[in-house]
Amino acid sequence: MHMSATPPFDPALARSAALLEGIVQLASEGIISIDDDERIHLFNRGAEEIFGYTAAEVLGQKLEVLLPARFRPQHRAEYLPRFANGHETARRMGERREVYGLRRSGEEFPAEVSISKVDVDGGRMYNAVVRDVTERRRYEAALQARGQELARSNAELEQFAYVASHDLQEPLRMVASYTQLLARRYEGKLDAQADTYIRFAVDGARHMQALIHDLLALSRVGTHGRAAGPVDTGRVVAGVLRWLGGALEESGGEVVAGPLPTVIADAGQLEQLFQNLIANALKFRRPGVAPHVEVSALRMADGTPRAAWRFTVRDNGIGFEPQFADQIFTVFQRLHTRAEYAGTGVGLAICRKIVERHGGTIWADGTPGEGAAFHFTLPDRAPEPSVDDATETEREVEREVERTP
């Protein structure tokens, strides 16, 4: 009987090998196998595309022909032995550290490489899947440049908005003062038409002052923010309610606050946020219905990196049509005429900017004639080491001083 050196023909194995070969050749990634001696045993079509060699040119050659010269010693002395002796059987390279390949043309390219090791026939084989990430790196760099450009132009715009609205205040104060003086001295002394003109001028100037005041507040969120520190939101809300005392009493309503947490935030901005939301809740009340406002907080996703507090300010006021839920946060967007409800349409834009600056989101839902609820999240972060108790106390003292007229 003739004994063959080759194993008996196994149709299942042959089919599997053919399938694998097809897949290997189809892949656009470069697939390369080397032996213990770093000699190349497999070099697929993808690898041919990426490196510019034909398989025939590199089979049997050392892997080093595919590496830029400056990486060869390190690869030989460090990376390969470490992987060979390590416990991992597969890993990805190029995620933490830049990896480069060398094309036949001598051109280097950034690569991402996954490697694995297998023991076959008593020997060790290494497989590598190579992706040419030149294009991706180019997009990433372009994206990063675009992002930086956007950030710079945003900062510039913000600065412009701040300077413009700040410098507009003085001349506008003159216009407003003198139209008011005109009204004070001459109202009723000219004719009815003149009185109407004067009133329009006074109202227009006043409204523009309110707009500029609020625009200034909006741009201050970005340009005059303070460092975050621990803030007791319960105390913030209590302070806001004291400040709103007059408006609250006049409305005949009540504001009920549940237990509120301490968060890491810019205290001044958080105060402004609650002030805007609670003042809104009182303002947009239904005629003849005393406003009832609830402030509450809910802890979300405890113990995860996405842990956050969700705050809600809920009222029983006029509400709004659901299709306006996003629009109301856009600057100057209003759902009512100024005759119905006074305002500039900046308040909720300020709220959104404050929340987003703190890494949270803000949204609203409402039902016409029943009420509205404004929700926002604040990430539950640990205090930043740069903020210590002394500076926070100082800041509080400063705020007290600022509030005292």
Binding site: Q169, S177, V401
Partner: protein, 148 residues
Amino acid sequence: VTPSARRPFDLLIVEDNPGDVELTREALQECAIPLRLWVAHDGIEALAFLRRTDAHADAPRPALVLLDLNLPKLDGRGVLAEAKGDVALRDIPIVVLTSSQAAADLRRVYGLQANCCVAKPVELDRYFATVRAIAEFWLQTAQLPRDE
């Protein structure tokens, strides 16, 4: 008979914006206090007036100074520092009118011994009321050393 019944008070306004000067003048007109108004348009002129130098040799000693902070040549802080550092001038009350409410600015102004610091109200009615309150307090309520 109080001195005010005998002769008008001299009040110095230090302000470079003619619009503001006129508003203050209008506001003071509504007070029933006999006044003579003097205007300095920058900090250097204000000090010349107070020290009666240059063209101001015949200037009266004002009973009250209303001082704006943003002035050409020498700003309000410079005027304060000079006037309050001068033995001959330091008891003239100086009221600073400012549009800044920043704690640091206020602290600085009081540190320079301003007698008081008042924010310029935006609304005209409040502006008039504020100017009147200043005039009534410093000229009629507060006791100040006056030339006999």
